[in-house]
């Protein structure tokens, strides 16, 4: 039995029809009945929570699978023993959504091979560990993938003082790449397609490729952008290298949760959407208090103010996004803090910009 009527914005005739409740045509009666039922739950404050949400609440902590080996910019344990990074902040946002506390996270280090089992056995509530969304993982891991939080893809790094800003700038130069990888195929394709004549220097393993570039054997170094960021962090002077604003392939990375609790998957999904939406509204950890009094009904709904149902649909605090934004920030703040202009990586937003700025980040409406 459905409890809500959800029509797209332009449903003028339908809505008007609902007003004429005394018209005795059967279909009108049906719609009227559905709307009546819908109204009873629209303001409900205590939807039942699913098993994963319940255990998070009982335990007072979210268990998050994270990159155990450490990945600069995405997940590292700092000198104070605290986890930090882009992927780490996604888990903190979900903890803030469910528990109201971004610090209530138990990070479980996982290596790549442990990921599937950790999700399948339910040992973790969520995984945010630079994991590419693929058809075989979606079908066989017993997991639900949340919206992509970071569109990774193959990138190119050059020396900052080279003045190179695009692929064409490498004309006549050379690029270090690991041999026998899709990375090598992609760069070959890109050079062919762009009509750029650059020489490929191939190496058998990833570290040798990086060292080849560092020793000056090539002008450029190519691998996935998240990998470039990690290597850059290990360089003696990270600021001496720049990652070009281009993407040669796509690797959509995002969090995932066990498929056994679809409602918790919805919480993760809408927390991620909420991070995008907050940036689109211009709501930040700094200015959120000003928005709490906003008269814009869209913002009121988004922040769960007044009579509007938001988090209560999922059995969590109605104003869950207030906790998320106040404690973790919007998407742009998370990106900037970990990967942006004030970090050694100075990553461009590229595909990770809002859809309104030419990127791919898009949130369905919070209503």
């Amino acid at each position: 039995m459905s409890d809500h009527v959800h029509y797209a914005a332009i449903t003028g005739e339908k809505e008007t029809m609902l007003k004429r409740s005394l018209v005795l045509m059967p279909f009108v009666l049906i719609v009227a009945v559905v709307v009546t039922l819908g109204f009873t739950s629209a303001g409900a404050q205590d939807a039942e929570v699913g098993p994963i949400t319940q255990r998070i609440i009982d335990r007072g902590e979210l268990i998050c699978g994270a990159n155990g080996a450490g990945l600069a910019g995405f997940a590292v344990v700092n000198d104070a023993g605290e986890w930090e990074g882009f992927d780490v902040d996604i888990c903190r946002a979900v903890a803030a959504a469910v528990l109201g506390d971004a610090n209530a996270v138990d990070f479980r280090p996982l290596n790549a091979d442990q990921r599937q089992a950790a999700i399948q056995t339910g040992e973790i509530d969520i995984m945010s560990r630079n994991t590419t969304w693929t058809v075989s993982r979606d079908a066989t891991w017993g997991a639900t993938f949340a919206p992509t939080t970071f569109y990774d893809g193959q990138g190119i790094m050059v020396k900052a003082d080279s003045g190179v800003t695009d692929l064409a700038g490498l004309e006549g130069g050379s690029i270090c790449v690991q041999s026998g990888t899709t990375t090598e195929l992609n760069i070959t394709d890109a050079l062919n397609q762009g009509g750029v004549d650059a020489e490929l220097q191939t190496f058998a393993d990833a570290t040798a490729t990086w060292e080849g570039y560092l020793s000056g054997r090539c002008d450029g170094f190519t691998t996935d952008i998240s990998g470039l960021v990690a290597y850059q962090a290990t360089a003696e002077d990270p600021g001496a290298h720049v990652i070009l604003d281009l993407t040669l392939s796509k690797e959509p990375l995002g969090p995932l949760s066990p498929q056994s609790d679809p409602q918790f998957a919805d919480i993760v999904r809408w927390t991620v959407y909420g991070l995008f939406q907050a940036e689109e509204y211009g709501i930040t950890s700094e200015n959120i208090d000003e928005f709490l009094a906003s008269e814009d009904p869209g913002i009121q709904r988004f922040l769960g103010q007044g009579e509007n149902a938001a988090g209560s649909y999922f059995g969590i605090s109605n104003d869950f996004m207030v906790n998320v934004i106040r404690q973790v920030g919007n998407y742009g703040e998370i990106f900037d803090r970990n990967l942006g202009p004030n970090t050694p990586f100075k990553l461009e937003r590229g595909l990770n910009a809002l859809w309104t700025d030419g990127g791919l980040l898009y949130s369905p409406p919070f209503r």
Binding site: T11, G12, S136, A139, E251, P364, P365
Partner: protein, 379 residues
């Protein structure tokens, strides 16, 4: 309108079910013994929905019947066409290898959510159902991959020439009274601090008449629906629909929750259509991109990968393909593309230059071309 007690609520629910049952539908008779489902090509475990679909021999999709380009019943030919219909046929092809194994259920005034809950249909693909937070909160149903992005915008008369927000200052704008669209309009113009005169009409038809009679130079609605309206006018060129939208509405398939395999089949068929376009695989060239197999010759795997690249090989080949992970044939996308085409071909067919309704692709372009249409990796 608040319902007081669970008993009344239950009564209403039963009434609703009774009323719905009175509408002729193609639901399976629950008392009929269900034949054992045929095995999937891979022998992977079969989920509940796939099992019932397999025993029925076709999928049942609910689509709009009055929206040219999306779901439209041609009153003269009886043909049902549109993007929603083709998506349904693509999903049918994924499962049965036959785009004809799809029964199309025309949405009239039924509630799409109840059609799904009752099992009358397997999927709803409608322009009138939008992915929202409250929609996701419905525990019985789930939204899938976005198949088309739409949103509210304006149609203006060529005479008024209004094509920027600034030029809306002082304009008279027609809308249908007391609708979400009208509230969206008022909110957006308030937010932009634009003064305008609102001409609020009781229904869409009256709004259209007022617009044509020149009582307002601007009317508001969904971009795709305004285009439909515009192209049905006597002089379509005398009017213009804005490309920019100020709300977000997307066509996303809606289906029952909790059957992950079913949701994977629907979503990865849509992603497959998008992926095919990004790789340049079309209904025209798909056969040339297959691994060569004749009774006395099979192209070596390495030669094939060398010829078409690893991505196309993994997507199209029966032995290195990965469709079995979804419980389908390894190469299930081959028939989908052969019979229905890739994502771009579907849009071109219905909304392109040769279609009934030319609408620029804009945000419905591939991510490679600056749009939002994106598929995760086929690995």
């Amino acid at each position: 309108l608040k319902v007081a007690t669970p008993v009344i609520r239950l009564t209403l629910a039963l009434m609703l079910i009774g009323l719905l049952a009175a509408i002729p539908m193609n639901a399976q008779d629950e008392n009929e013994p269900t034949p054992a489902p045929t095995a999937t090509p891979s022998g992977a475990p079969v989920g509940a929905t796939l099992s019932s679909v397999l025993s029925r021999g076709e999928i049942i999709c609910a689509v709009d019947q009055d929206l040219i380009g999306f779901g439209y019943l041609n009153p003269n030919t009886g043909e049902i066409t549109g993007i929603s219909v083709d998506l349904c046929r693509a999903i049918a092809t994924s499962i049965f290898g036959d785009s004809g194994a799809a029964q199309i259920f025309l949405l009239a005034n039924q509630n799409p959510f109840d059609l799904l809950s009752s099992g009358a249909v397997d999927i709803v693909i409608s322009s009138r159902v939008s992915h929202t937070l409250s929609g996701d909160a419905d525990s019985g149903l789930q939204f899938g991959a976005v198949a088309y992005y739409d949103g509210q915008t304006f149609m203006v008369t060529g005479e008024s020439g209004i094509d920027t927000w600034e030029e809306l200052e002082g304009a008279t704008i027609c809308s249908v009274s007391d609708t979400i669209a009208e509230r969206n309009l008022i909110r957006e113009l308030e937010r932009r601090e634009i003064n305008f005169d609102l001409l609020s009409l009781p229904n869409a038809n009256d709004m259209q008449q007022a617009f044509l009679a020149g009582r307002c130079g601007v009317q508001t609605g969904q971009r795709s629906q305004l285009e439909i309206t515009r192209q049905r006018l006597d002089e379509p060129a005398a009017y213009m629909v804005w490309q920019e939208t100020f709300t977000r509405d997307a066509i996303t398939p809606l289906y029952r929750y909790g059957d992950k395999q079913w949701s994977d089949i629907i979503n990865w068929t849509i992603y497959g259509l998008i992926y095919a376009e990004s790789l340049g695989i079309t209904s025209e060239n798909v056969d040339e991109l297959l691994r060569e197999r004749t009774p006395d010759f099979i192209e070596l795997e390495e030669d094939y990968i060398e010829r078409v690249g690893p991505e196309i090989a993994r997507f199209l080949d029966g032995s290195i393909g990965i469709g079995n992970q979804l419980g389908l044939a390894n190469d299930f996308m081959v028939e989908v593309i052969r019979q229905v085409g890739n994502y771009g071909e579907i849009l071109q067919r219905h909304l392109g230059e040769n279609g009934q309704l030319p609408i620029a692709r804009a945000i419905n372009s591939l991510w490679l071309d600056g749009g939002l249409i994106f598929a995760p990796d086929w690995r």
